[in-house]
């Protein structure tokens, strides 16, 4: 599974975005997932939009080049995304 990884700009994040992503990656090693930086002209099985807070600086409307979009706005969201990715890959 190819996941496009898109970060907001991180001007005032309420959690450590990169650490959360790294933890998510390491918790999904049992799945065959490759995380790659998101590009608008590429296609993905899914995209992960990592916002540092609940503001809508990067709109989720722009991700039409993937089958599914996961959005995180806080650390707890990554636990939910982890479960959803496991369920989705089954």
């Amino acid at each position: 599974m190819k996941i496009g990884l898109k970060y907001c700009g991180g001007c005032n994040p309420v959690y450590d975005r990169t650490a959360a992503v790294e933890d998510l990656k390491s918790s999904l090693t049992d799945l065959n997932i490759s995380f790659t930086p998101y590009r608008g002209d590429d296609t993905y099985d899914a995209c992960l939009l990592v916002r540092g807070c609940n503001r809508n600086c990067v709109s989720d409307q722009k991700f039409s080049n993937c089958r599914r979009l996961f959005t995180a706005v806080c650390r707890e969201d990554f636990d939910i995304i982890k479960k959803e990715l496991h369920a989705w890959s089954e």
């Binding site: 990884l5 907001c8 700009g9 991180g10 005032n12 975005r17 600086c57």
Partner: protein, 482 residues
């Protein structure tokens, strides 16, 4: 885009003429006094190349369609204007100091739209000249110093009436292939770390000031340009062997310099205004408007660092649970976020110029900067209140590292259990650095005078206050008939 290391190497290729402490600086890139300011601009390159920051740090160029550093970008929407403010806050957070590159971005956007309107009025070719220049800046990812402030001499006299005509930068010779200029630009933020200098007039002008209505860009190592580095409070601490704790912020800083233009030749293709005095005021107003918006981002980011340092100082002192300390931290946050609100608001209310790039709302940008002339001072005052007197009476790190003194310093400067005296000293020195050390140049006095002194904003606020409409509102409510 360049990497941080490529940026550093690109500066080594310049033959800058820089003077400091009475001597020419042979290697500005590696000079210990200058280097922290270079590192701050380096951060604008480093973050632009990281996926987790690229959404703020980069944009798609309207000139060439390439992904470019946002510092070289022409704002294409209100979203771009908001992202600019967020980017500046981010960089303030990452450097705790002035990162210098915003002034070129603001100059680029102001000159872009003004040259378009000069060409419409006069049939000149300045806009195309400027687009070629900026396209090159974008593709090479260069740092541009936006140079506006003339020394100004006797402030009661116009440029052409000054006893010394060089008090305002002006044309001294017109040639078929260009012009020769002479004068100076003061307080030039980041000039020693810049590839290009983009010169603009500093005030609105009258027809008799024609030779002073000049805008152009030249490389910073052009023959005839030299810089005299501005010294900062506590700057020579950077020259002390092994200096670290006492610097407060070892890796980052800002700088300004007095830049002399001693008969500098400017080729025609690099001229963006040449005698069109009626557009000098427009250019000044637009540049200062953008720059007043900028402070609603960068100062807020540095404020974030200062608030964090102050909260840590309270933790280390064992005072964090005191209600008045909590309340003061709330007040600092309230002031800081009010500044940010102004930066975001003037961006959201922006509008397109005739040239197509976006301008901020001038009234709100001036309100933003007017608050900037006050709130950082109050934030710094509260930081000093919470930090305690030790932030200015603490022994030096040399004393701390002296065997016979260290046990006493460790014994008597201890705070809460589990926090080392060294860490306590580090956070107090950081507060000192921002509130009255080298970074105070950027956080305090630059907040007062950078992008225009307070009265300049009040004049702009007055012009745009729409007082007649407000009077009408009152009359309507009070049932007063005209």
């Amino acid at each position: 885009m360049m990497t941080r290391e490529e940026y550093f190497e690109s500066l080594r290729k310049l033959n800058l003429k820089v003077y400091m402490f009475g001597k020419r600086v042979e290697n500005p890139v590696d000079d210990p006094v200058i280097r922290p300011s270079l590192n701050s601009i380096g951060m604008t390159y480093e973050l632009a190349n990281q996926p987790e920051y690229e959404d703020l740090m980069t944009a798609t160029s309207s000139l060439n369609g390439q992904k470019v550093n946002r510092f070289t970008h022409l704002h294409q929407s209100t979203e771009d204007l908001v992202k600019k403010v967020k980017m500046l806050r981010l960089l303030g957070q990452k450097t705790g100091s002035c990162f210098q590159r915003c002034v070129g971005m603001d100059a680029n956007n102001a000159v872009f739209s003004t040259t378009y309107e000069i060409d419409q009025a006069h049939g000149t070719n300045y806009h195309e000249n400027f687009k070629k220049f900026l396209n090159d800046v974008q593709l090479k990812d260069l740092v541009v110093d936006g140079a506006m402030t003339d020394p100004k001499g006797d402030r009661s006299l116009s440029p052409s009436k000054q006893p010394d005509p060089d008090c305002y930068l002006h044309v001294v010779e017109r040639r078929p292939d260009g012009v020769v200029v002479r004068g100076a630009k003061a307080h030039q933020t980041g000039i020693v770390n810049s590839h290009e200098v983009l010169v603009m007039p500093t005030i609105a002008m009258k027809p008799e000031d024609k030779d002073y209505a000049i805008s152009f860009a030249v490389p910073t190592d052009t023959e005839g340009i030299f810089m005299i580095y501005g010294r900062q409070s506590c700057d020579t601490r950077k020259l002390e062997e092994g200096a670290d704790i006492d610097l407060g912020n070892k890796n980052f800083g800002g700088h300004e310099a007095l830049v002399i233009f001693d008969n500098v030749f400017v080729p025609n293709e690099r001229i963006f205004m040449n005698g069109e005095t009626e557009f000098a005021g427009m250019l000044v107003e637009r540049f200062s408007g953008y720059h007043r918006q900028s402070y609603g981002g960068c100062k807020v980011g540095v404020g974030d660092v200062l608030i964090g340092a102050t909260a840590l100082a309270a933790d280390y002192n064992g005072a964090a649970k005191a209600s008045h300390i909590k309340d003061k931290l709330i007040e600092m946050t309230h002031l800081n976020e009010t500044l940010y609100s102004c930066g975001v608001a003037c961006s959201c209310e922006g509008c397109p110029t005739k040239a197509g790039n976006y301008m901020i709302d001038l009234l709100l940008a001036n309100v933003c900067k007017q608050n900037i002339t006050r709130f950082p001072y109050e934030i710094a005052r509260l930081a000093e209140d919470i930090a305690g007197g030790l932030m200015v009476t603490c022994p030096s790190e040399t004393d701390y590292n002296t065997a016979e003194l260290k046990p006493y310093i460790e014994k008597y400067l201890v705070g809460v259990e589990g926090i080392s005296v060294e860490d306590r000293m580090r956070i107090l020195r950081l507060i000192e650095n921002i509130s009255l050390g080298t970074a105070a140049v950027g956080y305090r006095t630059e907040s007062m005078h950078g992008a225009g002194s307070p009265q300049a904003q009040r004049i702009m606020i007055s012009r745009q206050s729409n007082l007649e409409q407000k009077k009408k509102l009152a009359k309507d409510i009070a049932n007063i008939k005209d």
